[in-house]
Amino acid sequence: MSAASHLIRQLKDDRIRVTLTLLGVVWATVSITVLTALGQSVHRALLKGEKGLGDGLVRVAGGVTSRPYGGFPRDRWIGFPLRDGRLIRDGIPEAELACAEFGPTIREIAWDKRTMTENIVGVEPAFGDLRSCFPQDGGRFINDLDMRQNRRVAFLGNAIKEKLFGRMPAVGQTIRIMNTPFTVVGVMRPKLQLSSYYTVDKDLVFIPASTFEKLFGWQHVSGILYRPKDPASAQRTKATIKTFLAAHHGYDPNDPRVWNIFDTRQIAEMIDDIGIGMRVFMFVIGALTLIVAGVGVANIMFVLVQDSTPQIGIKMAVGAKPLHILRQYLLEGLALVLAGGALGLLFSSFVLFLLRQIPIEEEGLAYLGRPELSLATVLIVSSVLTLIALAAGFFPARRAASVDPVEALRYE
């Protein structure tokens, strides 16, 4: 009689107990599977959200010198003018899409009878590609002509557009920024952005950097952005720019306070660490649930061994070795756990399917991502299940194998 068929007969005899144990295993499998899948999808969502700020983006900003250099005293303010963006763009080709950025500055904007106070930034055309600020159909981003002619045009973050225009089309309309008319040339396509260094792009009003400079009279940009062409030599590119800017503005290239750098790649690495930590955490919670279920399995296996002691005696009388008995109960435990595990995986894929139906446009839910039952998850869960089954089955099986046949035959 195979372990499976024996188990099925046992199931018939002992329906409630076996069913409850099975449910425990199913539940534990669902928790470990769903938690592991969620950990994976949150990790993915965080990385994707980070890319929303700009894939591999580096931002360099000026600061105050902390040491004397070249005859100048310390505590000098070093700022970068708008032309530095072009200088880097032209002089350091390994820094892709280099561009300068002004702002944000909080100003009053108005359209029709609506007035709001919002963040205005001045950007160069490369900013659009660098930060994945792509226009919705029928619009465009800031271009070179806008820059050269100091045009009064604006590109709106999609949240600003909603607030100002609602469902009305915005492109072609004229808005007022500090009572200066600006033509809306584009609206940003919604994107997942989970990090920023002041506010997320959907809440920004973008105007040409040259226009910004004239309108607000800023002498220094807030930062220079770029993306290293070759991620492998990102450190060397950073050093090149550092030296270039220091030489250009006459300060110590190793002065740490001037060199304010923001590198999304470092943040991505941090997110990776957080993601892995979170996944381990969720896996451990799931595994603990599974261990509790394993205790349930061990418990019912002990009952099973107790109840079938006479049968164990009979088997031993006709020549079963302790190993035969051990193997039988180990396999029964395994069959019980794996049956529960299979049901659990099936149910998990249903739960994950339901989770995927939740609309994740909402900010908070965006972190959820799209949890899926990956092959890796199935393999991990199956191996944990097998381990737990063997551990849960071992002690009852060992007790069964150590039954004294004479005692067992007397036991009735």
Partner: protein, 240 residues
């Protein structure tokens, strides 16, 4: 008569065998120095009242249990000191057990019960089934192979148990009160079956408290208080 037999005819030899069981705080002496020799192809009855130690003798002869002291040789090999795996192997190949309360697996069919010893001998499923059906036919249960024990009469259950005892072709059959739970007619049939199996060349050892049943054997060993008692007889002349 047994003293003049050559060694190789002595299938089972118990020398000064004792068996002590712990029972709570006290020790129960089930066997107190038993000497017994059983030859190949003998038909023996072990006769004694309940609590006399006759079942313990059977357990030791059948390698289900080992002596506390003394020695037991089966087929020339010492049994005391063997590990559970070696004992299991001997039970599987050399000994067939028949019990008073049948001891069938309740959830297995007659055929599956008979197959059981072959499972542990490592015989494949097809051969097992064929062999089990043949032996069930031999004991007159051809039509009952797919029945569960609770669908069979007492006599039929004991026939299944005998089929199971025979299926690995052991040379020794050990039966503990095999007719104890049967009506007189079924009991008589089962006894006739044992006599037939003896005639076919097997060593049959029958444990009983019933003088009438014991008288069917060639030799009667009387057990009282863990010792072989007076009046152990030899019925050879009468039987043959």
């Amino acid at each position: 008569m047994s003293r003049v037999d050559s060694n190789n005819e002595r299938l089972m030899i118990l020398s000064d065998v004792t068996k002590v069981y712990p029972m709570g705080d006290t020790q129960v002496e089930a066997l107190r120095g038993v000497n017994l020799q059983i030859k190949s192809r003998e038909f023996i009855a072990v006769l004694g009242p309940s609590g006399s130690g006759k079942s313990t003798i059977m357990h030791i002869l059948g390698c289900l249990d080992t002596p506390t002291s003394g020695t037991y040789h089966l087929d020339g090999a010492a049994i005391q000191g063997l590990n559970p795996n070696e004992l299991a192997e001997i039970r599987n190949r050399k000994i067939g057990f028949v019990f008073q309360s049948f001891h069938l697996l309740p959830r297995a069919t007659a055929c599956e019960n008979v197959e059981l010893p072959m499972v542990f001998a490592g015989i494949n499923a097809t051969d097992r089934k064929a062999c089990a059906e043949r032996v069930l036919d031999q004991v007159g249960l051809k039509e009952r192979t797919r029945h569960l024990p609770n669908e069979l009469s007492g006599g039929e259950r004991q026939r299944v148990a005998i089929a199971r005892a025979l299926v690995n072709r052991p040379s020794i059959l050990l039966a503990d009160e095999p007719t104890g739970n049967l009506d007189s007619r079924s009991g008589a049939e089962i006894l006739a079956l044992f006599e037939e199996l003896h005639t076919e060349g097997r060593t049959v050892i029958l444990v009983t408290h019933d003088e009438m049943i014991a008288s069917r054997a060639q030799r009667v060993i009387r057990i009282l208080d863990g010792r072989i008692g007076q009046g152990s007889s030899d019925n050879h002349g009468r039987k043959e």
